[in-house]
């Protein structure tokens, strides 16, 4: 269960609306089911009361919406930011993608968000309701007579299991207690793949990427992918394409997608969350992050505004690409 409640958030938002600090609120809107929420703009306490939700399924990272929504808002836009969202927030500021003056950021604590597919794997599908009860989720389904109790920690989203930070790196106001940067195991899976032979890795990715339907959800949800026009949509870019016609194009898209955000990706995990085919796209991003950390020193995108991303930086002593493979941790 989240430490902060829907009611507290509504109260805060209503207060900021009524005292004129903000004119609109970007929050989670109630969906059809207890687990589906839609990023929604609210303009009044009444709208909030009717439609605002906050629960264990509010994973969506709102930072990216600021690029389009902040500019349009009349006054300031209130945005609720979970710790991981604040990194994206800073990264977007670093890249001048929205006007900080147009945004009022309220940092909120996060206990980790649940993954509905993991819930369904335990409860079975046909969800009728989900309610938080302490550290558990109580699920009723169309098929089971008795409610099913599931420990929330057992159904956390992958990115939350490996949460990198409970600390907010940006906010105007903080609700609840500030957390800390965590020592996560987020690179373990990358390391596991690195330890495989090249053939095994090739087979792994071949299998994963072959499922891609090029819906662009990973790109369109990514807070780092805010290009006015994506190279893949631009007929003059030379790489434009709309569908994965074959294995090459599957790889091309995902290599370039990850490459374009390398050094800018905050590892928020939205790409993998939204993938309809459950491709572990975050592993590609994490590979770049892990490499950058190892080659050029620890770097967390979005930790500080105006930090210089590693791929637009250098030192004269950087390692050579050939040396990347001489480090002995690669048995391919």
């Amino acid at each position: 269960m989240q430490k902060i409640t829907r009611e507290q958030l509504i109260a805060k938002a209503s207060e900021l609306l009524s005292n004129g600090t903000v004119s609109q609120v970007l929050g989670w809107g109630k969906g059809e089911f207890d687990y589906d929420v839609t990023p929604t703009l609210f303009s009044s306490a009444e709208e909030l009361e009717n439609g605002f939700v906050f629960n264990d399924f509010c994973g969506a990272n709102f930072s990216k919406y600021l690029v389009s929504k902040a500019a349009k808002a009349d006054g300031k836009l209130l945005v609720f930011l979970k710790p991981c969202d604040t990194y994206s927030f800073n990264q977007l500021l670093t890249e001048h993608r929205f006007d900080r003056e147009k945004v009022y950021a309220v940092g909120i604590p996060c206990e980790g968000m649940a993954d509905i597919s993991k819930v369904k794997a335990i409860s079975g599908d046909g969800i009728a309701s989900i309610n938080a009860d302490g550290d558990n989720l109580v699920v009723t389904t169309l098929y089971e007579d008795a409610p099913i109790t599931i420990a929330t920690k057992d159904v956390l989203a992958e990115r939350c299991i490996n949460c990198k930070s409970k600390k907010h790196v940006a906010y105007d106001e903080l609700m609840g207690e500030e957390g800390e940067v965590l020592a996560s195991n987020r690179f373990d899976e990358v390391a596991r793949l690195e330890a495989m032979t090249a053939d095994e890795r090739f087979a792994f990715w071949q299998n994963e990427l072959s499922r891609c339907i090029r819906c662009n959800a990973c790109r369109d949800a990514c807070p780092a992918c805010t290009c006015e026009k994506c190279v893949f949509d631009n007929p003059n870019s030379g790489v434009e394409n709309k569908s994965p016609a074959n294995e090459f194009e599957e790889k091309l898209f995902h290599i370039i997608r990850a490459y374009h955000v390398a050094g800018r990706c905050t590892d928020c995990g939205e790409c993998s969350r939204v993938c309809p085919q459950n491709i572990p796209l975050h592993l590609l991003n994490r590979k770049f992050i892990k490499d950058i950390n190892e080659f050029y020193g620890e770097y967390q995108a979005g930790e500080e505004v105006d930090s210089r991303a590693p791929l637009v930086n250098y030192t004269t002593e950087d390692l050579e690409p050939g040396e990347v493979f001489d480090r002995g941790d690669n048995n391919a």
């Binding site: 703009l41 662009n216 949509d233 016609a245 085919q277 459950n278």
Partner: protein, 342 residues
């Protein structure tokens, strides 16, 4: 009606696969299901829904149409059409089967799409009555009976047996090849199964969703509805809903220069994309709101207007499950049209 014990299901599959490529839903490691080509040892999934719909077998995501070659300063066209392989898609749910009615009207109306027709002619659909409808299901809204799926052969599964009934010549021919593995039976068990499913249908949260207020002739009324702004506000403009949808049939035709010639191919397109139907003068839908509206107006108004009232949604629920921001046709229908205030 013929039946067969589920214990012999692999023999059925083997028999079908002898003469045609057999595709059926298989569980994936990530908890979802996908159609896969059957081979010895393949385990048929109990899953209700595959992420990708069986539309893909008849209207694949990419398909080469023709090839050009330039030799010196002349251009040669190469017809690369071939006879499709014979194939069987097994275990298609009622909603997905219904999608072929919608696709057929687009692709088989003269001038028929020969690529689609080719696959349609060589493919046999073995449907399967729903066993476990879930919260995202709303096929009833579009008049689909999940317990009585259409298809070349309809099938029902009970605890112990599987039942078949052929509906078309193609279906009869296929069922005939299975006659040694199946036996004639009455429809008692099937009727029982149907009742069971229909009982679940009554419990579904979306059971009361209606198409009231939509359909042909509603363009003027709905086009400028103020709700579109709010509904489309969070839309990311990705193509997930389109690409998992069994009835979306828009495609783009593109040329790929291989260096040795040009392949003209088509690939799925999405009305959610900013370059959808971009023409020489530019885009005709400039904002995400317009594109978002297009998708739902097409499914709920334009298509029925041109197709005897047939809606181009089958209520399979894939877009409900997969939209990154959980915006979908149900929310649109509830906000606009005859479901207001419900």
């Amino acid at each position: 009606m013929r039946k067969c014990s589920l214990e012999k299901i692999n023999e059925i599959f083997a028999a079908i696969a002898k003469n045609a490529a057999l595709y059926l839903p298989v569980d994936r490691t990530d908890g979802s299901a996908a159609y896969k080509k059957w081979e010895e040892g393949t385990v048929w999934s109990n899953a209700l829904n595959t992420v990708r719909s069986p539309k893909d077998f008849f209207f694949p995501q990419t398909e080469d149409l023709m090839r050009f070659k330039t030799k010196g300063k002349t251009v040669q066209l190469e017809d690369i059409r071939t006879e499709a392989e014979a194939f069987v898609v097994f275990g298609v749910r009622a909603c997905d089967v219904k999608s072929f009615d919608i696709l057929d009207r687009v692709f088989l109306t003269e001038p028929a799409d020969s690529f689609y027709a080719n696959r349609r002619n060589h493919g046999v659909i073995v449907s399967l009555a729903c066993t476990r409808p879930v919260e995202t299901c709303f096929c009833k809204t579009f008049g689909i009976d999940p317990s009585a799926p259409a298809g070349d052969i309809s099938a029902w599964k009970t605890e112990s047996d599987i039942f078949f009934e052929a509906n078309t010549e193609k279906g009869k021919a296929l069922l005939h090849t299975l006659s040694e593995l199946t036996e004639e039976c009455d429809d008692g068990a099937v009727a029982e199964q149907k009742a069971k499913i229909n009982a679940v249908m009554e419990k579904l949260p979306l059971k009361d969703l209606s198409t009231k207020g939509f359909g042909g002739g509603k363009t003027a009324e709905l086009f400028d509805a103020p709700e579109w702004d709010e509904l489309s506000s969070a839309c990311l403009g990705c193509g997930t809903c389109t690409f998992v949808c069994p009835t979306c049939q828009c495609y783009d035709i593109k040329d790929f220069n291989t260096g040795n010639g040009v392949i003209r191919f088509r690939c799925w397109d999405s009305c959610m994309y900013s370059d959808f139907t971009k023409m020489a003068h530019g885009n005709n839908r400039l904002t995400q709101k317009e594109r978002f509206r297009q998708r739902f107006m097409h499914k709920l108004v334009y298509y029925p207007e041109n197709n005897d009232g047939l809606f181009s949604c089958v209520g399979c629920g894939r877009c409900l499950a997969k939209c990154p921001i959980s915006m979908n046709i149900v929310k649109v229908m509830k906000k606009i049209g005859g479901n207001k205030g419900e």
